[in-house]
Amino acid sequence: MHHLSLYLHFVKLRIQSQMEYRLSFVFDVFAQASISVIDFFMIALLFNRFKELAGWSLWEVGFLYGMIGICFALAEMFGRGFDVFQRNIARGDFDRVLIRPLGTFFQVFSHEFLLRRFGRIAQALVVLLIANSQLIIPWSFAKVGYLLISLVSGTCFFIGLFVIGATSCFWTVQSIEIINIFTNGGVFMGSYPFSIYRWWFRHFFTFIVPLACVNYFPSLFLLGKVETLGISPVGAQLAPLAGFLFLGVTVLFWRWGVLHYQSTGF
Protein backbone atom coordinates (compact mmCIF):
# COMPACT_ATOMS: atom_id res chain seq x y z
CA MET A 1 0.00 0.00 0.00
CA HIS A 2 2.86 2.30 0.89
CA HIS A 3 4.41 1.57 -2.50
CA LEU A 4 1.18 2.33 -4.32
CA SER A 5 0.64 5.72 -2.70
CA LEU A 6 4.29 6.57 -3.31
CA TYR A 7 3.91 5.52 -6.93
CA LEU A 8 0.85 7.68 -7.41
CA HIS A 9 2.70 10.59 -5.86
CA PHE A 10 5.61 10.14 -8.28
CA VAL A 11 3.23 9.92 -11.20
CA LYS A 12 1.65 13.20 -10.15
CA LEU A 13 5.07 14.87 -10.05
CA ARG A 14 5.95 13.47 -13.47
CA ILE A 15 2.75 14.75 -15.01
CA GLN A 16 3.36 18.19 -13.56
CA SER A 17 6.87 18.31 -14.96
CA GLN A 18 5.71 17.25 -18.42
CA MET A 19 3.13 20.01 -18.36
CA GLU A 20 5.95 22.54 -18.04
CA TYR A 21 6.64 22.27 -21.77
CA ARG A 22 3.00 22.60 -22.65
CA LEU A 23 3.26 23.40 -26.35
CA SER A 24 5.61 20.51 -26.89
CA PHE A 25 3.29 18.27 -24.89
CA VAL A 26 0.32 19.06 -27.10
CA PHE A 27 2.46 18.56 -30.19
CA ASP A 28 3.68 15.24 -28.91
CA VAL A 29 0.26 13.83 -28.10
CA PHE A 30 -0.79 14.60 -31.66
CA ALA A 31 2.50 13.41 -33.07
CA GLN A 32 2.23 10.06 -31.33
CA ALA A 33 -1.31 9.62 -32.54
CA SER A 34 -0.42 10.71 -36.06
CA ILE A 35 2.52 8.30 -36.30
CA SER A 36 0.28 5.37 -35.60
CA VAL A 37 -2.60 6.71 -37.72
CA ILE A 38 -0.18 6.85 -40.62
CA ASP A 39 1.18 3.39 -39.91
CA PHE A 40 -2.29 1.96 -40.14
CA PHE A 41 -3.19 4.13 -43.09
CA MET A 42 -0.27 2.58 -44.96
CA ILE A 43 -1.45 -0.92 -44.13
CA ALA A 44 -4.87 0.09 -45.46
CA LEU A 45 -3.25 1.39 -48.66
CA LEU A 46 -1.55 -1.94 -49.20
CA PHE A 47 -4.82 -3.80 -48.66
CA ASN A 48 -6.51 -1.42 -51.08
CA ARG A 49 -4.10 -2.66 -53.74
CA PHE A 50 -3.56 -6.29 -52.73
CA LYS A 51 -6.94 -7.09 -51.05
CA GLU A 52 -5.63 -9.77 -48.66
CA LEU A 53 -2.52 -10.93 -46.85
CA ALA A 54 -2.04 -14.65 -46.35
CA GLY A 55 -5.80 -15.10 -45.90
CA TRP A 56 -6.22 -12.15 -43.53
CA SER A 57 -8.52 -9.24 -44.33
CA LEU A 58 -7.71 -5.61 -43.55
CA TRP A 59 -9.75 -5.50 -40.36
CA GLU A 60 -8.40 -8.78 -39.07
CA VAL A 61 -4.95 -7.24 -39.45
CA GLY A 62 -6.40 -4.11 -37.84
CA PHE A 63 -7.27 -6.21 -34.81
CA LEU A 64 -3.66 -7.39 -34.54
CA TYR A 65 -2.46 -3.86 -35.06
CA GLY A 66 -4.76 -2.36 -32.44
CA MET A 67 -3.76 -4.91 -29.82
CA ILE A 68 -0.03 -4.53 -30.26
CA GLY A 69 -0.34 -0.73 -30.47
CA ILE A 70 -2.19 -0.49 -27.16
CA CYS A 71 0.30 -2.80 -25.43
CA PHE A 72 3.31 -0.88 -26.64
CA ALA A 73 1.91 2.54 -25.80
CA LEU A 74 0.94 1.37 -22.30
CA ALA A 75 4.41 -0.08 -21.83
CA GLU A 76 5.99 3.19 -22.92
CA MET A 77 3.73 5.06 -20.53
CA PHE A 78 4.50 2.94 -17.49
CA GLY A 79 7.93 1.55 -18.33
CA ARG A 80 9.48 4.82 -19.42
CA GLY A 81 11.85 4.76 -16.44
CA PHE A 82 13.62 1.76 -17.93
CA ASP A 83 13.43 3.13 -21.45
CA VAL A 84 15.48 6.21 -20.52
CA PHE A 85 17.54 4.50 -17.86
CA GLN A 86 20.86 5.02 -19.66
CA ARG A 87 20.72 8.70 -18.67
CA ASN A 88 20.83 7.74 -15.01
CA ILE A 89 23.77 5.45 -15.57
CA ALA A 90 25.71 7.91 -17.71
CA ARG A 91 25.30 10.68 -15.12
CA GLY A 92 26.03 8.43 -12.19
CA ASP A 93 22.55 9.08 -10.81
CA PHE A 94 22.03 5.43 -10.04
CA ASP A 95 24.23 5.84 -6.95
CA ARG A 96 21.43 7.83 -5.40
CA VAL A 97 18.93 5.08 -6.17
CA LEU A 98 21.11 2.57 -4.37
CA ILE A 99 21.24 4.45 -1.08
CA ARG A 100 17.50 4.96 -0.80
CA PRO A 101 15.48 2.56 1.35
CA LEU A 102 13.42 1.20 -1.53
CA GLY A 103 13.90 -1.54 -4.09
CA THR A 104 15.85 -0.47 -7.17
CA PHE A 105 13.30 -1.93 -9.55
CA PHE A 106 10.46 -0.01 -7.94
CA GLN A 107 12.42 3.23 -7.95
CA VAL A 108 13.34 3.07 -11.61
CA PHE A 109 9.82 1.96 -12.50
CA SER A 110 8.25 4.87 -10.68
CA HIS A 111 10.84 7.35 -11.87
CA GLU A 112 9.01 8.20 -15.08
CA PHE A 113 5.46 8.22 -16.33
CA LEU A 114 4.84 9.30 -19.89
CA LEU A 115 1.38 10.79 -19.96
CA ARG A 116 1.68 11.89 -23.56
CA ARG A 117 1.39 8.32 -24.81
CA PHE A 118 -2.35 8.41 -24.27
CA GLY A 119 -2.66 9.80 -27.79
CA ARG A 120 -1.24 6.61 -29.18
CA ILE A 121 -3.30 4.42 -26.88
CA ALA A 122 -6.46 6.18 -27.99
CA GLN A 123 -5.60 5.76 -31.66
CA ALA A 124 -4.81 2.05 -31.34
CA LEU A 125 -7.99 1.57 -29.34
CA VAL A 126 -10.03 3.25 -32.06
CA VAL A 127 -8.55 0.91 -34.68
CA LEU A 128 -9.32 -2.07 -32.45
CA LEU A 129 -12.92 -0.93 -31.96
CA ILE A 130 -13.48 -0.28 -35.66
CA ALA A 131 -11.96 -3.66 -36.47
CA ASN A 132 -14.31 -5.22 -33.96
CA SER A 133 -17.33 -3.54 -35.53
CA GLN A 134 -16.29 -4.80 -38.98
CA LEU A 135 -15.69 -8.36 -37.83
CA ILE A 136 -18.19 -10.70 -36.30
CA ILE A 137 -16.65 -11.79 -33.03
CA PRO A 138 -18.95 -13.73 -30.68
CA TRP A 139 -17.97 -11.90 -27.50
CA SER A 140 -18.61 -13.37 -24.07
CA PHE A 141 -17.47 -12.24 -20.63
CA ALA A 142 -14.72 -14.81 -20.71
CA LYS A 143 -13.48 -13.57 -24.07
CA VAL A 144 -13.46 -9.92 -22.99
CA GLY A 145 -11.51 -10.97 -19.90
CA TYR A 146 -9.14 -12.93 -22.09
CA LEU A 147 -8.60 -9.88 -24.31
CA LEU A 148 -7.85 -7.69 -21.29
CA ILE A 149 -5.42 -10.23 -19.89
CA SER A 150 -3.72 -10.43 -23.29
CA LEU A 151 -3.35 -6.65 -23.37
CA VAL A 152 -1.80 -6.60 -19.89
CA SER A 153 0.43 -9.48 -20.91
CA GLY A 154 1.58 -7.58 -23.99
CA THR A 155 2.30 -4.53 -21.86
CA CYS A 156 4.36 -6.68 -19.50
CA PHE A 157 6.20 -8.12 -22.47
CA PHE A 158 7.27 -4.70 -23.75
CA ILE A 159 8.15 -3.45 -20.27
CA GLY A 160 10.28 -6.59 -19.97
CA LEU A 161 12.13 -5.55 -23.12
CA PHE A 162 12.76 -2.10 -21.65
CA VAL A 163 14.09 -3.77 -18.50
CA ILE A 164 16.52 -5.83 -20.56
CA GLY A 165 17.66 -2.69 -22.36
CA ALA A 166 18.12 -0.86 -19.04
CA THR A 167 19.93 -3.77 -17.40
CA SER A 168 22.42 -3.99 -20.24
CA CYS A 169 23.42 -0.41 -19.40
CA PHE A 170 25.13 -1.75 -16.27
CA TRP A 171 27.76 -3.15 -18.62
CA THR A 172 27.63 -0.95 -21.70
CA VAL A 173 26.70 2.44 -20.10
CA GLN A 174 25.15 3.52 -23.40
CA SER A 175 21.80 1.93 -23.95
CA ILE A 176 21.95 -0.72 -26.61
CA GLU A 177 20.02 0.35 -29.64
CA ILE A 178 19.49 -3.29 -30.49
CA ILE A 179 16.53 -3.47 -28.15
CA ASN A 180 14.71 -1.27 -30.69
CA ILE A 181 14.51 -4.33 -32.89
CA PHE A 182 12.24 -5.94 -30.35
CA THR A 183 10.30 -2.87 -29.22
CA ASN A 184 9.64 -0.79 -32.34
CA GLY A 185 10.35 -3.75 -34.57
CA GLY A 186 8.02 -5.85 -32.44
CA VAL A 187 5.16 -3.42 -33.00
CA PHE A 188 5.86 -3.45 -36.72
CA MET A 189 6.09 -7.24 -36.93
CA GLY A 190 3.18 -7.79 -34.60
CA SER A 191 0.93 -5.77 -36.90
CA TYR A 192 1.03 -8.58 -39.46
CA PRO A 193 -0.02 -12.21 -39.14
CA PHE A 194 2.92 -14.37 -38.10
CA SER A 195 2.23 -16.91 -40.81
CA ILE A 196 3.94 -14.65 -43.37
CA TYR A 197 7.32 -15.00 -41.64
CA ARG A 198 9.85 -17.77 -42.16
CA TRP A 199 9.81 -20.62 -39.67
CA TRP A 200 13.04 -19.66 -37.87
CA PHE A 201 11.82 -16.09 -37.52
CA ARG A 202 8.45 -17.25 -36.22
CA HIS A 203 9.95 -19.67 -33.72
CA PHE A 204 12.37 -17.10 -32.39
CA PHE A 205 9.52 -14.65 -31.77
CA THR A 206 7.36 -17.30 -30.14
CA PHE A 207 9.67 -19.25 -27.87
CA ILE A 208 12.61 -16.95 -27.12
CA VAL A 209 11.09 -13.49 -27.40
CA PRO A 210 7.40 -14.35 -27.00
CA LEU A 211 5.93 -11.59 -29.15
CA ALA A 212 3.55 -13.94 -30.97
CA CYS A 213 2.12 -15.08 -27.63
CA VAL A 214 0.81 -11.64 -26.67
CA ASN A 215 -1.13 -10.68 -29.78
CA TYR A 216 -0.98 -13.21 -32.63
CA PHE A 217 -2.19 -16.29 -30.75
CA PRO A 218 -4.78 -14.34 -28.76
CA SER A 219 -6.06 -12.82 -32.01
CA LEU A 220 -6.21 -16.24 -33.65
CA PHE A 221 -8.33 -17.43 -30.76
CA LEU A 222 -10.62 -14.39 -30.64
CA LEU A 223 -11.08 -14.24 -34.42
CA GLY A 224 -11.84 -17.94 -34.55
CA LYS A 225 -8.87 -18.76 -36.75
CA VAL A 226 -7.25 -21.33 -34.45
CA GLU A 227 -8.86 -24.40 -35.98
CA THR A 228 -8.02 -23.44 -39.54
CA LEU A 229 -4.33 -23.27 -38.76
CA GLY A 230 -4.00 -26.52 -36.87
CA ILE A 231 -2.77 -24.87 -33.67
CA SER A 232 -4.03 -26.35 -30.41
CA PRO A 233 -6.77 -24.10 -28.95
CA VAL A 234 -5.49 -24.68 -25.43
CA GLY A 235 -2.06 -23.49 -26.50
CA ALA A 236 -3.53 -20.31 -27.98
CA GLN A 237 -5.52 -19.68 -24.81
CA LEU A 238 -2.52 -20.13 -22.54
CA ALA A 239 -0.18 -18.10 -24.77
CA PRO A 240 -0.66 -14.74 -22.97
CA LEU A 241 0.94 -16.23 -19.87
CA ALA A 242 4.25 -15.92 -21.70
CA GLY A 243 4.15 -12.14 -21.38
CA PHE A 244 4.00 -12.30 -17.58
CA LEU A 245 6.65 -14.98 -17.48
CA PHE A 246 8.89 -12.89 -19.70
CA LEU A 247 8.64 -9.88 -17.38
CA GLY A 248 9.43 -12.15 -14.42
CA VAL A 249 12.60 -13.40 -16.07
CA THR A 250 13.71 -9.88 -16.93
CA VAL A 251 13.20 -8.78 -13.32
CA LEU A 252 15.60 -11.53 -12.26
CA PHE A 253 18.02 -10.35 -14.93
CA TRP A 254 17.71 -6.81 -13.51
CA ARG A 255 18.52 -7.98 -9.98
CA TRP A 256 21.59 -9.76 -11.25
CA GLY A 257 22.60 -6.71 -13.31
CA VAL A 258 22.38 -4.38 -10.31
CA LEU A 259 25.08 -6.49 -8.61
CA HIS A 260 27.41 -5.64 -11.49
CA TYR A 261 26.86 -1.92 -11.32
CA GLN A 262 29.95 0.25 -11.35
CA SER A 263 29.38 3.95 -10.91
CA THR A 264 30.37 6.41 -13.60
CA GLY A 265 29.91 9.28 -11.14
CA PHE A 266 32.57 11.47 -9.68
Binding site: Y21, L23, S24, F25, V26, F27, D28, V29, F30, A31, Q32, S34, I35, V37, I38, D39, F41, M42, L45, L46, N48, R49, F50, K51, E52, L53, A54, T172, Q174, I176, E177, I178, N180, I181, G185, F188, M189, Y192, I196, Y197, R198, F201
Partner: protein
Protein backbone atom coordinates in the same frame (compact mmCIF):
# COMPACT_ATOMS: atom_id res chain seq x y z
CA UNK B 1 38.80 34.03 -53.61
CA UNK B 2 41.35 33.28 -50.92
CA UNK B 3 38.98 34.35 -48.18
CA UNK B 4 36.16 32.29 -49.62
CA UNK B 5 38.42 29.27 -49.45
CA UNK B 6 39.25 30.07 -45.83
CA UNK B 7 35.58 30.33 -44.93
CA UNK B 8 34.98 26.98 -46.60
CA UNK B 9 37.80 25.50 -44.52
CA UNK B 10 36.12 26.65 -41.32
CA UNK B 11 32.82 24.96 -42.13
CA UNK B 12 34.61 21.88 -43.43
CA UNK B 13 36.25 21.64 -40.02
CA UNK B 14 32.81 21.74 -38.36
CA UNK B 15 31.60 18.97 -40.65
CA UNK B 16 34.68 16.85 -39.94
CA UNK B 17 34.28 17.32 -36.22
CA UNK B 18 30.66 16.22 -36.45
CA UNK B 19 31.79 13.14 -38.37
CA UNK B 20 34.51 12.26 -35.87
CA UNK B 21 32.25 12.73 -32.87
CA UNK B 22 30.02 9.99 -34.21
CA UNK B 23 32.92 7.67 -34.91
CA UNK B 24 33.22 7.04 -31.16
CA UNK B 25 30.06 5.00 -30.94
CA UNK B 26 31.09 1.87 -32.79
CA UNK B 27 29.02 -0.64 -30.84
CA UNK B 28 25.95 1.57 -31.11
CA UNK B 29 26.48 1.70 -34.84
CA UNK B 30 26.70 -2.06 -35.08
CA UNK B 31 23.43 -2.31 -33.18
CA UNK B 32 21.88 0.25 -35.49
CA UNK B 33 23.03 -1.76 -38.47
CA UNK B 34 21.31 -4.83 -37.10
CA UNK B 35 18.15 -2.80 -36.57
CA UNK B 36 18.21 -1.51 -40.15
CA UNK B 37 18.63 -5.02 -41.45
CA UNK B 38 15.87 -6.36 -39.24
CA UNK B 39 13.34 -3.82 -40.49
CA UNK B 40 14.41 -4.59 -44.02
CA UNK B 41 13.83 -8.28 -43.43
CA UNK B 42 10.31 -7.71 -42.09
CA UNK B 43 9.50 -5.45 -45.05
CA UNK B 44 10.67 -8.19 -47.39
CA UNK B 45 8.52 -10.80 -45.61
CA UNK B 46 5.45 -8.55 -45.73
CA UNK B 47 5.77 -7.61 -49.39
CA UNK B 48 6.62 -11.14 -50.45
CA UNK B 49 3.38 -12.29 -48.80
CA UNK B 50 1.36 -9.49 -50.41
CA UNK B 51 2.79 -10.20 -53.85
CA UNK B 52 2.30 -13.96 -53.48
CA UNK B 53 -1.48 -13.60 -53.62
CA UNK B 54 -1.50 -11.18 -56.52
CA UNK B 55 -0.79 -12.17 -60.11
CA UNK B 56 -1.77 -8.90 -61.81
CA UNK B 57 1.29 -6.83 -62.84
CA UNK B 58 2.21 -4.07 -60.41
CA UNK B 59 3.97 -0.74 -61.06
CA UNK B 60 6.99 -2.18 -59.25
CA UNK B 61 7.75 -5.90 -59.23
CA UNK B 62 8.85 -7.67 -56.07
CA UNK B 63 12.58 -7.42 -56.80
CA UNK B 64 12.24 -3.70 -57.42
CA UNK B 65 10.32 -3.32 -54.17
CA UNK B 66 13.08 -5.11 -52.29
CA UNK B 67 15.73 -2.89 -53.87
CA UNK B 68 13.62 0.13 -52.97
CA UNK B 69 13.44 -0.87 -49.31
CA UNK B 70 17.15 -1.69 -49.20
CA UNK B 71 17.79 1.89 -50.32
CA UNK B 72 15.27 3.16 -47.75
CA UNK B 73 17.22 1.49 -44.96
CA UNK B 74 20.47 2.83 -46.42
CA UNK B 75 19.22 6.39 -46.11
CA UNK B 76 17.02 5.97 -43.03
CA UNK B 77 19.52 7.75 -40.78
CA UNK B 78 19.83 10.62 -43.25
CA UNK B 79 16.23 11.68 -42.77
CA UNK B 80 15.41 15.03 -41.16
CA UNK B 81 13.53 13.74 -38.13
CA UNK B 82 16.71 12.69 -36.31
CA UNK B 83 17.40 16.31 -35.43
CA UNK B 84 16.48 15.76 -31.76
CA UNK B 85 19.70 13.81 -31.33
CA UNK B 86 21.85 16.52 -32.85
CA UNK B 87 24.24 18.52 -30.68
CA UNK B 88 22.82 21.77 -31.96
CA UNK B 89 19.29 20.93 -30.85
CA UNK B 90 20.40 20.00 -27.37
CA UNK B 91 22.56 23.13 -27.27
CA UNK B 92 19.44 25.18 -27.92
CA UNK B 93 17.67 23.36 -25.11
CA UNK B 94 20.40 23.62 -22.48
CA UNK B 95 21.51 27.12 -23.45
CA UNK B 96 25.05 26.31 -24.52
CA UNK B 97 24.04 27.59 -27.95
CA UNK B 98 25.00 31.02 -26.62
CA UNK B 99 28.64 30.02 -26.88
CA UNK B 100 28.19 29.09 -30.52
CA UNK B 101 26.43 32.35 -31.27
CA UNK B 102 29.37 34.40 -30.02
CA UNK B 103 31.62 32.81 -32.66
CA UNK B 104 32.14 34.75 -35.89
CA UNK B 105 30.42 32.13 -38.03
CA UNK B 106 27.04 32.01 -39.66
CA UNK B 107 24.87 29.87 -37.41
CA UNK B 108 22.77 28.28 -40.15
CA UNK B 109 25.83 27.39 -42.24
CA UNK B 110 27.50 25.97 -39.16
CA UNK B 111 24.42 23.84 -38.45
CA UNK B 112 24.28 22.79 -42.09
CA UNK B 113 27.95 21.75 -41.98
CA UNK B 114 27.30 19.78 -38.79
CA UNK B 115 24.44 17.96 -40.52
CA UNK B 116 26.62 17.27 -43.57
CA UNK B 117 29.19 15.60 -41.32
CA UNK B 118 26.43 13.53 -39.80
CA UNK B 119 25.11 12.54 -43.22
CA UNK B 120 28.57 11.48 -44.42
CA UNK B 121 29.02 9.39 -41.31
CA UNK B 122 25.73 7.57 -41.66
CA UNK B 123 26.17 7.10 -45.38
CA UNK B 124 29.58 5.50 -44.93
CA UNK B 125 29.22 3.65 -41.66
CA UNK B 126 25.55 2.69 -41.78
CA UNK B 127 24.27 3.00 -45.33
CA UNK B 128 27.12 1.35 -47.17
CA UNK B 129 27.33 -1.75 -44.91
CA UNK B 130 23.52 -2.12 -45.04
CA UNK B 131 23.73 -2.08 -48.82
CA UNK B 132 26.61 -4.57 -48.99
CA UNK B 133 24.97 -7.02 -46.59
CA UNK B 134 21.69 -6.73 -48.50
CA UNK B 135 23.39 -7.66 -51.75
CA UNK B 136 24.42 -10.93 -50.11
CA UNK B 137 20.92 -11.82 -48.97
CA UNK B 138 18.53 -10.33 -51.50
CA UNK B 139 18.28 -9.75 -55.21
CA UNK B 140 19.26 -6.10 -55.26
CA UNK B 141 19.16 -4.40 -58.65
CA UNK B 142 22.25 -2.39 -59.53
CA UNK B 143 21.88 0.10 -62.40
CA UNK B 144 24.08 -0.75 -65.34
CA UNK B 145 23.91 2.52 -67.23
CA UNK B 146 26.37 5.23 -66.35
CA UNK B 147 23.77 7.97 -66.83
CA UNK B 148 21.46 6.36 -64.30
CA UNK B 149 24.29 6.06 -61.80
CA UNK B 150 25.39 9.67 -62.22
CA UNK B 151 21.89 11.14 -62.09
CA UNK B 152 21.13 8.99 -59.06
CA UNK B 153 24.29 10.24 -57.31
CA UNK B 154 23.37 13.85 -57.97
CA UNK B 155 19.77 13.30 -56.91
CA UNK B 156 20.91 11.54 -53.74
CA UNK B 157 23.18 14.45 -52.87
CA UNK B 158 20.29 16.85 -53.43
CA UNK B 159 18.17 14.66 -51.16
CA UNK B 160 20.79 14.94 -48.42
CA UNK B 161 21.05 18.72 -48.78
CA UNK B 162 17.29 18.97 -48.70
CA UNK B 163 17.15 16.79 -45.61
CA UNK B 164 19.68 19.03 -43.84
CA UNK B 165 17.77 22.16 -44.80
CA UNK B 166 14.54 20.62 -43.48
CA UNK B 167 16.27 19.56 -40.25
CA UNK B 168 17.28 23.14 -39.58
CA UNK B 169 13.87 24.52 -40.48
CA UNK B 170 12.11 22.02 -38.20
CA UNK B 171 14.41 22.09 -35.22
CA UNK B 172 14.90 25.83 -35.07
CA UNK B 173 11.45 25.60 -33.49
CA UNK B 174 13.44 24.61 -30.40
CA UNK B 175 13.89 28.34 -29.79
CA UNK B 176 10.16 28.48 -29.09
CA UNK B 177 9.27 25.12 -27.58
CA UNK B 178 12.68 24.05 -26.12
CA UNK B 179 11.56 20.43 -25.99
CA UNK B 180 11.56 19.23 -29.58
CA UNK B 181 10.24 15.69 -29.14
CA UNK B 182 6.76 16.76 -30.19
CA UNK B 183 7.73 18.47 -33.41
CA UNK B 184 10.16 15.70 -34.19
CA UNK B 185 7.44 13.08 -33.85
CA UNK B 186 5.09 15.12 -35.98
CA UNK B 187 7.69 15.55 -38.71
CA UNK B 188 8.49 11.84 -38.47
CA UNK B 189 4.98 10.84 -39.42
CA UNK B 190 4.61 13.37 -42.21
CA UNK B 191 8.01 12.67 -43.70
CA UNK B 192 7.91 8.88 -43.52
CA UNK B 193 4.52 9.00 -45.23
CA UNK B 194 5.06 11.53 -47.99
CA UNK B 195 8.65 10.62 -48.79
CA UNK B 196 7.42 7.17 -49.82
CA UNK B 197 9.45 5.47 -47.14
CA UNK B 198 6.59 3.36 -45.77
CA UNK B 199 5.01 2.41 -49.08
CA UNK B 200 6.51 3.47 -52.44
CA UNK B 201 4.40 6.22 -53.98
CA UNK B 202 4.02 4.12 -57.16
CA UNK B 203 1.76 1.76 -55.18
CA UNK B 204 -0.48 4.51 -53.83
CA UNK B 205 -3.94 5.29 -55.15
CA UNK B 206 -3.96 8.08 -57.72
CA UNK B 207 -5.44 10.87 -55.59
CA UNK B 208 -2.91 10.43 -52.77
CA UNK B 209 0.06 10.07 -55.10
CA UNK B 210 -1.03 13.32 -56.69
CA UNK B 211 -0.88 15.03 -53.30
CA UNK B 212 2.58 13.62 -52.66
CA UNK B 213 3.82 15.04 -55.97
CA UNK B 214 2.94 18.52 -54.75
CA UNK B 215 4.80 18.13 -51.48
CA UNK B 216 8.57 18.39 -51.02
CA UNK B 217 9.18 15.11 -49.21
CA UNK B 218 9.21 12.76 -52.22
CA UNK B 219 12.56 14.44 -52.96
CA UNK B 220 14.07 12.64 -49.97
CA UNK B 221 13.31 9.06 -50.96
CA UNK B 222 10.99 8.49 -53.87
CA UNK B 223 12.73 10.69 -56.45
CA UNK B 224 16.30 9.40 -56.01
CA UNK B 225 15.22 5.77 -55.74
CA UNK B 226 12.88 5.96 -58.71
CA UNK B 227 15.82 7.31 -60.69
CA UNK B 228 17.90 4.41 -59.38
CA UNK B 229 15.28 1.89 -60.50
CA UNK B 230 15.00 3.55 -63.91
CA UNK B 231 11.38 4.56 -63.32
CA UNK B 232 12.13 8.21 -64.01
CA UNK B 233 13.96 8.79 -67.28
CA UNK B 234 14.75 11.44 -69.85
CA UNK B 235 13.53 14.98 -69.28
CA UNK B 236 11.60 13.90 -66.19
CA UNK B 237 14.88 13.33 -64.38
CA UNK B 238 15.72 17.00 -64.81
CA UNK B 239 12.27 18.09 -63.69
CA UNK B 240 12.53 15.86 -60.62
CA UNK B 241 15.96 17.19 -59.71
CA UNK B 242 14.75 20.73 -60.31
CA UNK B 243 11.99 20.06 -57.78
CA UNK B 244 14.54 18.81 -55.26
CA UNK B 245 16.65 21.91 -55.79
CA UNK B 246 13.72 24.29 -55.55
CA UNK B 247 12.47 22.78 -52.31
CA UNK B 248 15.97 22.77 -50.85
CA UNK B 249 16.23 26.51 -51.49
CA UNK B 250 12.79 26.99 -50.00
CA UNK B 251 13.77 25.23 -46.77
CA UNK B 252 17.08 27.07 -46.55
CA UNK B 253 15.10 30.30 -46.77
CA UNK B 254 12.56 29.13 -44.21
CA UNK B 255 15.34 28.06 -41.84
CA UNK B 256 17.04 31.44 -42.19
CA UNK B 257 13.78 33.24 -41.46
CA UNK B 258 12.99 31.12 -38.40
CA UNK B 259 16.50 31.38 -37.00
CA UNK B 260 16.52 35.17 -37.32
CA UNK B 261 13.18 35.29 -35.52
CA UNK B 262 14.46 32.81 -32.95
CA UNK B 263 17.57 34.81 -32.11
CA UNK B 264 15.60 37.99 -31.66
CA UNK B 265 13.53 36.40 -28.90
CA UNK B 266 16.27 34.19 -27.54
CA UNK B 267 16.36 33.67 -23.81
CA UNK B 268 19.30 31.56 -22.81
CA UNK B 269 18.41 28.58 -20.65
CA UNK B 270 20.49 27.46 -17.75
CA UNK B 271 23.33 29.36 -16.15
Amino acid sequence: MKSLYLIFQVYLAFAKKSFQRRMQYRVANLAGLTTNFFFLLVHVFVYTAFYAARTAPQPLDLDEIITYFVLCQVSFMLMPFWGTHSEVTSAIKDGSVALQLTKPVDFQTYWFADECGRACYYLLMRGLPTFLISILFFKVAIPQQLTVLTTFTVSMMLAIFMSNAITIAIFSSGFWTLDTTGISGMSYSIITLFSGMLVPIALWPEWLAHLARWLPFEGLIDIPFSIYLGKITGVEVWIAMGKQMGWTLFFVGLGRFLLTRGFSRLVIQGG
